[in-house]
Assembly symmetry: none
DNA sequence: CACTGGAAAATGCCGC
DNA sequence: GCGGCATTTTCCAGTG
């Protein structure tokens, strides 16, 4: 008998497992997305406009990203500074 | 002192709570999306092509949707049929 | 005098031309959409239900898409098959 | 023989014609949309950013709408003014 | 006039 | 690194 359509070989098992895991995760994603919608609905119910809410969230996201960018800037300068300090120390040793 | 920027009125509290809940949920969404990516990576690692995997998953999804669509088709035909029945009954009354 | 607001440099000319072309095309799109509405109105006038009409058109569209999807499926299988053939040939060379 | 599937009655003819006209128009819409994409591609080719282009077009659209709104405002005031003039004339006649 | 469904646009991701 | 593609999000018309 052919396994086509009802593959039960090792590879088939593995494939089925992977597909099911992905489908389960995508189901989860949908559930979370629905919860987001529910919160927006609740917000609307107490008079908050969805568009404004979105704008606020976007703003906060940008702010967080700006902070992250700033931090990596600081790190960059710090490491640059370290190099300079190293160079200076090296120079002193050599002199 | 102005509350601008540090609103602590009732509405402000509510707004902050809503925004935080949404942000938390979107964080969750991102996490789940990452898990999906991980599974795809794992699949790739054992030799499955992502494209084929996607095709399989899409197919299964379509199958599920086809069932749903069939059901709404049936409903549409049923309501159309009801209209016809109504017309016929009306015609009998008038004759 | 500043060109701000009445840019007439080469780049400005080009930009204006592009913007106008896009706006003209979007106007066309709106006109065609209106014509679609007119046909639906005409259909309604001779007793066809818009909902059913939509269902018919959607169905035909799906049918066309199914053909396209089938074709890409075939392509996908063919390329997968090619890979397998390649692997087998590689294995023979190595053995 | 049943006409189901190959309806050639008068109503069927009409239905088919309507469906085809709609499908033709939707095809046109798609073509125009593609042309828009082409213009955007061309714009990109000469260094204009799609996002900026979109922003410009949106701005111009808003401007046109503002003008229209202004015009209807003017009309409103004009008709209000006419009423006042009428009232004044009436009052003069009566006095 | 709010709501849902579908089209249009934006974003993010993948492969080259 | 970027161009194309898929997904996601946003917007708008139609409907009840």
């Amino acid at each position: 008998m052919s396994d086509i359509g009802h593959n039960s070989g090792a590879a088939g098992q593995q494939l089925r497992s992977l597909v099911q895991r992905i489908e389960r995760l995508e189901e989860e994603k949908r559930e979370v997305a629905d919860q987001v919608k529910e919160v927006f609905a609740e917000a609307k119910g107490v008079g908050f406009d969805k568009k404004v809410l979105h704008a606020i969230i976007a703003r906060r996201k940008q702010a967080r990203e700006a902070v992250r960018e700033f931090d990596s800037m600081v790190e960059l300068y710090e490491s640059a500074l370290d190099s300079v300090v190293d160079d200076v120390l090296d120079a002193e040793v050599k002199s």
